[in-house]
């Protein structure tokens, strides 16, 4: 029996596996790996994750199948002492590999940059002065993190502060995230938003919710013992329902508001102390 043409056989195997795997990745796994389509940003992240998975699939299959192929076909017969060919490299293969991986990396980086900036930060905390800002009117909402809960202030509604988050649908929201003590991270899962809350820092994230829904709010930066309990549900509601809710909130929290400092991008808390 003569040695089969391993290169051709393996390439065919790999191509076949890739052709089978890609549709599965795009249509079965892809929809599962994003945060859903609750906002422009969330759906965008889902698309990006799928694109990356599509790029990664052939690479993963190449290496995995190669390992399997080698272990099956390039074996030392039991008790044997055969040597492989004394080949120490192949400049053509090496050059091809370097070129292809470099091109892939550039594609991924350019794609990521374009998607990041065109989606106005893609839901991520983008600092006090984000590079790309959505045009048109925005509803500013301040997220104030402290041990161990989030509160929300609406500067355009008299600076009222609420313990829960309600947002109007199809409205561009500007989240201003800050902290009163240690570092927290505001994570609204279904909205595709994550922004660290640093003391005396204003961290801006943009989001445009696209459907009426309930979303989860969590803290995603370790902030002390009740970090895991910094959980709440927020709601995306219709614009009229939001107006109604905020009007009611202004009445309900009027007394509390009177005790608050005036609205500001950041607050200067007392330095954190033990037992605090």
């Amino acid at each position: 029996m003569s040695e089969p043409n391993h290169a051709r056989r393996f390439t065919l195997l790999w191509l076949l596996a890739t052709v089978i795997a890609l549709p599965i990745v795009i249509w079965v796994i892809g929809p599962l790996i994003g945060p859903g389509n609750g906002s422009d940003q969330a759906s965008g992240q889902g698309t990006d994750a799928t694109v990356l998975a599509v790029i990664a699939t052939p690479v993963i299959l190449l290496v995995m199948l190669y390992l399997l192929y080698s272990v099956i076909f390039f074996r030392q017969p039991s008790g044997g002492a055969l040597e492989g060919p004394a080949v120490r490299g192949d400049s053509k293969v090496q050059t091809t590999w370097i070129v292809i991986t470099s091109v892939l990396v550039l594609i991924v980086a350019v794609y990521g940059t374009v998607r990041l900036e065109s989606a106005n930060g893609a839901g991520s905390g983008s600092g006090a002065t984000p590079l790309s800002v959505p045009s048109g009117p925005k509803l500013p909402v301040q997220v104030i993190a402290q041990q161990w809960y989030f509160t929300y202030r609406f500067p355009t509604y008299g600076g009222v502060e609420t313990p829960h988050l309600v947002l109007p649908v199809n409205t561009q929201i500007e989240l201003n995230v800050t902290s009163l003590d240690v570092i927290h991270s505001f994570w609204a899962y279904q909205l595709g938003v994550k922004a660290d809350a640093n003391p005396q820092v204003n961290n801006v994230a943009f989001v445009k919710p696209t459907k009426v829904m309930r979303f989860e709010v969590r803290c995603s930066e370790l902030c002390g013992i009740w970090h895991g309990s910094m959980f709440d549900y927020g709601h995306v509601v219709s614009v009229p329902a939001f107006k109604q809710w905020i009007a009611r909130a202004q009445v309900t929290y009027a007394a509390a508001k009177a005790a608050l400092p005036p609205y500001s991008k950041t607050y200067a808390p007392e330095p954190t102390r033990r037992g605090g």
């Binding site: 992240q45 060919p85 490299g89 590999w97 009740w226 309990s229 033990r274």
Partner: protein, 634 residues
């Protein structure tokens, strides 16, 4: 390196009675002086930081000055007790220089300052193994707690301490996981040297690490620490006394790392035997070299950062306290400038071990040697340009994110070189599936998953969803446990028969491998899903619908823990009870360490060897054209 004379080994002293041997500079003295130093430091600290002298104390009776000085005093006492001060003092008194200390004195040399690099290697292997076990037990506790979606087994504060100890112990102690035992033991042999460049510093790095390990473990007496291994400020400043254990631990580890790296660089650069050119250097030595560069450049940053943290905690400076004009961003920046190179400190030695072992079990020369070296050096260089990808959603330098996205993705190019060399070496090879080889193949499988999941995290839009979630946890466990720990075990099964002259039980070793490999993937693969589903890291309370997956992960983790017990049983059985001598070269390796007698003589070589090739001289010169061998086997 030849200014000092190497006198002939002194004859063995006659055996003295036990009580007489207990006096002197040894581990017992070290522990006693360590305890004494601890109380001296504590006393001085109480005088400096008396009750209420700093305003953080107004709410507590804690004295960070006292605890930090106590730790410092304890370490100094411990090192003096081991005899680290003797040589500098004797030199100051005008005694002649000498190189060796306690070399060739029987079992006792393993329990004290010894300048034989092989003894230090063995010390590292056992010492690090113990702390790896402690870290592992903490992982089991974490998974036990996460069986339930609310705090049940341990409280939330205790849980965070356990998470912190697990993470810090693993990240701190395992940085030297391969460089410590196998780097110290085999690098001098592989380059044809009789010792390391700085043998006393070599011993010092080990004992510093041991002191550090005990200090970290002692955090449980001071309330633990809530920050995880990153020690983020200002949470760090808010934390109770146990935080000081973290600070002291990592400062000692950082010092040990920097010294270890410096020693390795000096050794590799200056002590190579004739003919051991840079292009003949074993690839493992190259990986040690690259890792050492990272250690020397990154670890001092950690020590400086911790010093600033300690000052914030003790004398009320405010480097990181926004209320006092500092910045919490500064800590994140400084920490990750160390922290990201640190993860490559963990990964690179694994590359080296795997590529070193592969030719032996594939019976082929290492394919693409120069490319592999370029890959390692490329990773080393690039790892200093990616740290802010840990801060993608923090708001710091948001405009620079495309740069860090690009640099992070670029680092996958040199990593890809390693994979190409791995695959090229396997091409048309003659693979023997011995236990070390199985671990090498598993390394490739795991690291591939770890690496590609890293690309998803390097992309800002997808990282927005996954940052700080279990996805990140799964990613770095695939690279560190799947990469470092699997190659660590490959190295153990491959080299320990040389180090001890005894063989492992093959059957138990295979059980260990298969259970570990399957349980590892069964533990960490679902964590990707948990992260995608929105489970943040370091929580005791999580969403109800994730209980099922978490239970699966916990059970898998217990099986993973069980596989470690198989290893321990195997090690104890094979090395202490069975004691079956290993063959002199069981893997038919062409590397020089396998050509030496077992045990390796104290000074390795009677005559310094002259190298005329790299150690990968395997394979038949002409490509196989005649086809596969007859079924009878050769």
């Amino acid at each position: 390196m030849s200014t000092t004379t190497e006198s002939a080994p002194t004859p063995q002293p006659t055996r003295r009675p036990l009580w007489r041997r207990l006096l002197g500079f040894n581990l017992l003295t070290a522990v006693l002086l360590g305890v004494a130093g601890y109380y001296v430091g504590w006393y001085i600290g109480r005088q400096i930081g008396f009750e209420g002298s700093f305003h953080y104390q107004k709410k507590s009776d804690e004295n960070d000055v006292a605890l930090l000085l106590a730790y410092f005093g304890g370490v100094v006492g411990f090192l003096i007790g081991l005899g680290f001060a003797n040589y500098p003092i004797s030199r100051l008194l005008g005694r002649p220089p000498s190189l060796r200390e306690k070399e060739g004195e029987g079992v006792g040399r393993y329990f004290g300052l010894c300048t034989d690099h092989k003894v230090v290697g063995m010390q590292y292997l056992v010492g690090i193994g113990v702390f790896f076990f402690v870290g592992g037990v903490n992982a089991m506790l974490i998974r036990t707690e996460l069986l339930h979606d609310t705090p049940t087994v341990v409280g939330p504060g205790q849980y965070l301490s356990i998470v912190g100890i697990h993470g810090t112990m693993m990240m701190g102690m395992m940085t030297s996981g391969i460089l410590g035992p196998f780097g110290n033991y085999f690098v001098p042999i592989m380059i044809g040297a009789r010792r390391m460049a700085f043998p006393r510093i070599e011993a010092l790095t080990f004992w510093l690490l041991m002191a550090a390990g005990f200090i970290l473990a002692s955090t449980i007496f001071f309330g633990g620490f809530p920050t995880g291994w990153t020690g983020y400020q200002p949470l760090n400043d808010q934390a109770v006394l146990g935080m000081d254990s973290y600070i002291m631990f990592f400062a000692l580890v950082g010092t040990s790392m920097a010294l270890l790296g410096l020693n390795m660089i000096a050794t590799i650069m200056t002590m190579r035997a004739p003919g051991m050119t840079w292009s003949r250097l074993p690839i493992f030595v190259w990986s040690v070299y690259a890792t050492s560069v990272l250690m020397v450049l990154a670890a001092p940053m950690l020590v400086a950062t911790l010093l600033m943290s300690a000052l914030d905690r003790t004398i009320d400076t405010s480097f990181f306290i926004t209320g006092g004009g500092g910045s919490s961003y500064l800590y994140q920046n400084l920490f990750w400038f160390f922290g990201h190179p640190e993860v490559y400190v963990l990964a690179l030695p694994g590359f080296g071990v795997v590529l070193e072992l592969l030719p032996v079990f594939a019976r082929k020369p290492l394919w693409g040697y120069r490319l592999a070296v370029a890959g390692m050096l490329g990773v080393t260089l690039m790892s200093f340009f990616v740290w802010q990808h840990h801060l993608f959603v923090s708001g710091i330098n948001a405009d620079l994110r495309p740069f860090y996205m690009l640099s992070t993705e670029i680092i996958s190019i040199p990593t890809g070189f390693i994979f190409l060399c791995f695959m090229g070496t396997l091409w048309k090879s003659r693979i023997t599936l011995s236990v070390p080889m199985l671990f090498c193949l598993a390394w490739a499988f795991n690291f591939l998953i770890g690496g590609t999941s890293g690309v998803v995290l390097s992309d800002v839009p997808t990282d927005t969803q996954l940052h700080g979630s279990f996805f990140v946890m799964a990613h770095f466990h695939y690279t560190i446990m799947g990469g470092l720990i699997f190659s660590f075990f490959a190295a153990i099964y491959y080299w320990v028969p040389k180090m001890t002259g005894l063989r492992f039980n093959e059957r138990l070793a295979k059980w260990h491998f298969w259970i570990m490999f399957i349980a590892f993937n069964s533990t960490f693969m679902p964590l990707f899903a948990l992260g995608i589903k929105g489970m943040p890291r370091r929580v005791t309370t999580y969403a109800e619908n994730l209980v099922g997956l978490n239970t699966w992960v916990s059970i898998s983790a217990f099986v993973l823990g069980f596989s470690m017990l198989i290893f321990i049983v195997n090690a104890v059985y094979s090395m202490i009870f069975a004691r079956i001598p290993a063959e002199s070269n069981p893997w038919r390796s062409k590397s020089i360490e396998w050509q030496l007698p077992t045990p390796v003589p104290v000074h390795n070589f009677d005559q310094i060897p002259v190298f005329d090739s790299d150690p990968y001289d395997y394979g038949t010169p002409q490509p196989i054209a005649t086809g596969r061998p007859a079924s009878a086997g050769a």
